[in-house]
């Protein structure tokens, strides 16, 4: 913890425990509001999917809301909403998380629901539930990807940035064909392989007495048996530090504004090399004083909007993605040249640009930590990915200690043509407006 952040009162206190069945538990008392966040990270994501079952980790997440031995179908949502809580789950490349925020004195309810589906999910599984949620997920894919301008960009960029045998090569949402192929046997096998207390972290943040909360956690989760050792991530999990050659693709869509995506391979999240990349993304496109906004949107009026961010992913290498949407009638080649040029120019960025980015990161970080659900999610994340929930307190210092020289040197090393994928969306040839 840096002296400055400690002075600012932002240090998050927590305690860490481990149950006999391997469940890791992080408890952080926070009595600012009479609520409690219950947050579970399972160390499984789309990266663990086998060939022919893309999208399965996410489909499985949906099945976790379909009831368990003692919770009726749709009961999970009904119990939480009746208690005034909010809840959801999400699946990403490296993890699947489940979370609810409840009035603090209803902690038991969250623990009971989460433990019932971790310990006793399979007795409640049926083909009808699977078929229903398969339809829901296919509609999610239509909504997010297929019926959305530029909607398949992450799927395309992942395939361009990671080789076919790397676990990030395919998207979280998966293909319609693979979703169709998913069976009840797959649900059972996936559950038995990955949904075990020894493959999960449970974080509680809110207005509770930690000793009592731990006793309640033991009561609800203690009977769940440890699972077998979790198999390693399939496929190739190491990568060269840079791509080696530019990869390009151009897609025609029913759009009127072209858009250029550029992705650069960067060091994996959590490594020292990642933080200059994170700061670089802020320098490029966070706020209206950022480089890309200033040059492409304001001065040259080539772009409608600009975005840049570093993915917090950990297997082999991460990526920094940037995009710019063209102004009406702006030529896509001109936009691409300008975008690449500005990104490469980060190698000569001013100190002031970098200091401003760090100041923005600091504010953003403290604002995020205002909510118990965000605190709980970050504790679970750091425990799951790095086996160190304490990184919630040191992460800001990692970002703050990035020097201007480190950002410039990162840019010189990584933000180059031979380390990028360029994905361009252009209106259908001959399309009218």
């Amino acid at each position: 913890m840096s002296a400055r952040a400690a002075e600012a009162g932002a240090e998050i206190e927590f305690e860490e425990h481990s149950l006999e069945n391997g469940l890791r538990v992080v408890l952080s008392r926070d009595d600012r509001s009479p609520v409690v966040a219950v947050n579970l990270w399972y160390n499984v994501g789309s990266r663990n999917e086998r060939p022919g079952r893309t999208g399965f980790a996410h489909l499985f997440e949906h099945m976790m809301f379909q009831g368990s031995a003692n919770v009726p179908e749709a009961g999970h949502f009904a119990f939480i909403e009746k208690a005034g809580g909010s809840l959801n789950g999400s699946t990403w490349l490296d993890r699947t998380n489940y979370f609810e925020t409840l009035p603090a004195h209803y902690l038991d309810l969250g623990l009971w629901l989460e433990s019932d589906r971790l310990g006793w999910l399979l007795p409640a599984m049926t083909q009808a539930k699977l078929d229903n949620q398969r339809d829901v997920v296919k509609n999610e894919r239509r909504w997010r990807v297929d019926n959305q301008p530029y909607g398949d960009w992450d799927e395309r960029l992942q395939a361009m940035m990671y080789p076919p045998d790397h676990p990030y090569h395919h998207s979280v949402i998966g293909s319609m064909e693979d979703l169709d192929a998913a069976s009840l046997e797959d649900v059972e096998a996936f559950f038995r392989t990955y949904y075990a207390p020894n493959n999960a972290v449970l974080s509680l943040v809110g207005d509770f007495e930690p000793a009592r909360a731990l006793e309640r956690v033991r009561r609800f989760f203690g009977d769940i048996p440890r699972g077998p050792a979790v198999p390693p991530i399939p496929g190739r999990t190491t990568l060269p530090p840079v791509l080696g050659a530019e990869v390009r693709d151009t897609v025609e869509q029913d759009i009127s504004l072209a858009r250029v995506y550029e992705a650069y391979r960067i060091p994996a999240y959590g490594t020292d090399g990642y933080y200059p990349a994170l700061v670089a993304a802020y320098v490029l496109a966070f706020g209206r004083a950022s480089l890309l906004y200033r040059t492409l949107v304001r001065d040259r009026q080539l772009a409608q909007d600009v975005v840049a961010y570093a993915f917090p992913i950990v297997v082999g290498a991460s990526m920094m993605v940037s995009w710019a949407t063209a102004r009406q009638d702006v030529d896509v080649d001109e936009l691409e040249v300008a975008l690449s040029g500005q990104i490469e120019a980060l190698a000569t960025a001013d100190d002031a640009d970098i200091e401003r980015a760090v100041a923005l990161i600091e504010t953003r970080h403290l604002l995020d930590l205002q909510t118990v659900d965000e605190r709980a999610d970050q504790l679970s994340m750091h425990a799951t990915l790095f086996d160190d929930p304490g990184r919630i307190n040191t992460e800001l210092e990692r970002m703050r200690s990035v020097t201007a020289a480190a950002v410039r040197s990162f840019a010189e090393q990584y933000l180059r043509r031979e380390n990028r994928a360029v994905l361009r969306y252009v209106p259908h040839a001959g399309a009218g407006r």
Binding site: A8, G9, A10, R32, S33, P34, V35, A69, N70, E73, A74, A78, E81, A83, G84, S86, P103, Y106, D108, L109, W112, P123, N132, R134, D135, V136, N139, E140, R142, W143, R144, D146, N147, Q148, P149, R219, I255, S256, L257, G287, R288, A289, V297, R298, Q301, Q304, R327, Q328, A352, E355, R356, A359, L360, E362, T363, L366, L367, Q370, T371, V372
Partner: protein, 453 residues
Amino acid sequence: MRAGTAAPPRLPPPVPVRLPAVRSHRLGCGLQVVVAERHDLPVVDARLVFRSGAAGDPPAVAGRAFIAARMLDQGTAAFTATRLADEIETLGASLETHAGWDSTVVALHVLAPRLDAALRILAEVGLRPTFPDDEFERQRSERISAITHERHDPATLAGKTFAAAVYGPRHPFGAPLGGTTESLSSLGVADVQQYHRQRAAAGNAFLVIAGDVDGDALVPALEDLFDGWGEMPPGDASAGQADANGGGPAVIVVDRPGAPQSELRIGLPGPPRRTDDYFPLLVGNTILGGAFTSRLNILLREEKGYTYGAGTRFAFRSGGGPFLASTAVFTGATADAVHDIVREVGRMGREAVSLEELDRARRYLTLGLPQHFETTGDVAERLGEVELFGLGAGYHEGWVAQVEAVTAESVADASARWLRPDALTVVVVGDAEVVVGDLERLGTGEVHVRASG
């Protein structure tokens, strides 16, 4: 099988809600200031709110409030736009200016140690914008460019088509908040500047500050910052509201050949924020489509698998605003989903909701209240709503009792008034060739097909 802990835990009775202590103060210039102190984290949210928004734009000048709000930080007496962005972001702060239907907001997020410098910029943006020509042209052409994109975004297209159909060409709500190509093309920088001058007065604004501040020390500083601001607007700022005249119920299909999904928007004009029916409608909407376990989401998602999600809401603007059901369903399910939504909307006023549903909705709302006050941004927004709509001191303190007083009868009664199935407008953005026949067979209304381009 699970032993010992198989049964759901019994929930203890609710605990009273703790709400932030609020202090109000009127500055010498007439500006109302609302302060809620909170010292757990060194962060502050401030919102300078003008009581004027896009509801005051007749359709011919749609987008005027939107562009005026965007222009506030595009140059002031002391700063160019570039310099201002640089100043604020070097503080690590964010300052956003935007227009809603009922208000124009300058919203600031900042760490407490940098509040003074950031507030100076906020006051500068609120009091002394200069509306430079070149910045205006940039904002306008950026917006026009964005509008060309919106024609290809099914969700935006559906929303705009719905608003135009329900409110018609003469009502402000019938045009997009951000304007149309036509309205923006005829808008001049002088129009925008005059619009702002007629509304930017201390008596037509208020300031909410929530977070790690010392209220006693803050007030004198604010007196200095806002010193000399005129209380009353110099001109007539009244908008004059036309009646909605969308031409009655209809089914409109905006054709997107080959679309894998249909975006659905179904609704009608709703009541103003200060309607006496507010709480029955809030509870009723929670049952109908305002929560995951609402009737529409359970039916269309969990039972039929037609969609990733379905929901409903009342806009509750000062001057009304629509009730709207929204979802995106796979193309083959379009007509059946429309049928279900129309039936469920109508059923709210025809049959009393079950006591189980009523109980769940009331608990969902009342027990969930603390989550709406979790961050300084939440607090500033909630307090801003009270001030903007004139909900009165003690509004949130009495909120739980108001929700608990809602009965099945009051829900049915309010729903019968506002959710009239014969007055619904149905908008479908999807593949006309596939969906039109089924929609005609539904008999909900005459089906009109339009091109999307």
